[in-house]
Amino acid sequence: MRDQATDEGLVLQTVRALEAADAPLRPRDWPALEDPHIRELVGGHLKGLGRQLVAVTHGDGGPIEGWLSGWSDEVAAELAGDETDLVADDFAVLALIYLHSEVLVRILGEDVPPVLEQLDQHTGPDGRDTVRGQRLTKSLRRLRAHQLITNQNKLGPALMRLTPTQSRILEGNLVLLLRPDSLWARDIKAARRPESTLTEEE
């Protein structure tokens, strides 16, 4: 039989660590997180704060490197509509960095030079005229402050806090942007349609 008082103390200590951590809690440092029962209890407390336990893995489906907390799926959808200090320029810059990192490096697996170098080599429009000079500097600073990018202008640690559902939405957006007429895009659109609309059409 488990000692509930000990469990609760351990669970709250783990919740506090997760909420304060700036890097994944490694299983060897926080063995409690290897226990599915404790993880379930931790998840319950995080849910009460609008947060969710996130496993950080090495690559898709790789071994668990550690644990973080992030916005729960329900709360993230609500917070997305809140005011933020990020402006349209910032999202444009982040999208550019995301596209280069995800499409060229992770999905296509290409060994590519840094984003700036690639853009310099590119002939024709590269989107950089939309945000430049002081506006670009400020955007990069704001994105770094939110940990969305690193000092090297790579995707930042904030993206490790995305839950599997949030990652799927982001990847779906990528497909809708790059292959809008594909079967894959059609499936994504259908899955995102409210249930009532689906019933009417099918």
């Binding site: 709250l12 506090r16 926080w30 947060r51």
Partner: protein, 182 residues
């Protein structure tokens, strides 16, 4: 967001994200219970020049989890060193018993930094205040100037003790405003 519990979770999430929320919009008692049950604590603070603006801030139950380089390792986000200097001098100026003041103007802070750290140091003050320290909720800009932000107002005892000690050392520095060589 259907249940009452979901709504409380959303409000606590908003408190975390925005550093503070107006008390008028919140169900304080319910939020306090929900925060305590999950290792956090609710603080009521007045951060603006006008005391009518009272806000809620999400802090830590008892003391804040400390960073640890030993097992169990816990990495905490740190401020850049330049921002730490600005923060310590800001805190010491605000707390200086010889000049009771609730807010600071930028020239006052950058002038003190220039004297203490060296010419040009004050130039880092505006960037640190308006970006790093504001984002961290440590300072807030009001019509009267820069004031302590919600996170500074809810520091735990050990953090406050460290900052008080640093401030006391600065007050005795000969180049401190009002000091022998200022």
């Amino acid at each position: 967001m259907n249940t009452r519990m979901d709504q409380l979770a959303l409000e606590l999430a908003r408190l975390r994200r925005h550093n503070q929320l107006p008390i008028a919009d919140a169900r304080v008692a319910d939020l306090e219970i929900a925060a305590n049950a999950n290792g956090r604590q609710l603080h009521v603070v007045s951060t603006a020049e006008d005391d009518n603006t009272v806000s809620l801030v999400l802090g830590w139950h008892s003391v804040e989890p400390a960073a640890s380089t030993r097992s169990p390792k816990l990495v905490r986000r740190t401020l850049p060193q330049s921002a730490v200097k600005v923060l310590v001098v800001f805190y010491a100026l605000i707390k200086d018993p010889n000049t009771v003041q609730e807010s600071l103007r930028l020239p006052q802070l950058s002038g003190t930094l220039d004297r203490l750290v060296g010419p040009g140091s004050g130039g880092t003050a505006e960037k640190a205040l308006s970006e790093v320290l504001t984002a961290a909720g440590l300072v807030v800009l009001t019509s009267n100037g820069w004031q302590p932000g919600p996170k500074m107002l809810t520091w735990d005892g050990p953090t406050r003790a460290v900052m008080d000690h640093a401030a006391e050392r600065l007050w005795t520095h000969p180049l401190w405003p009002g000091g022998a060589n200022a």
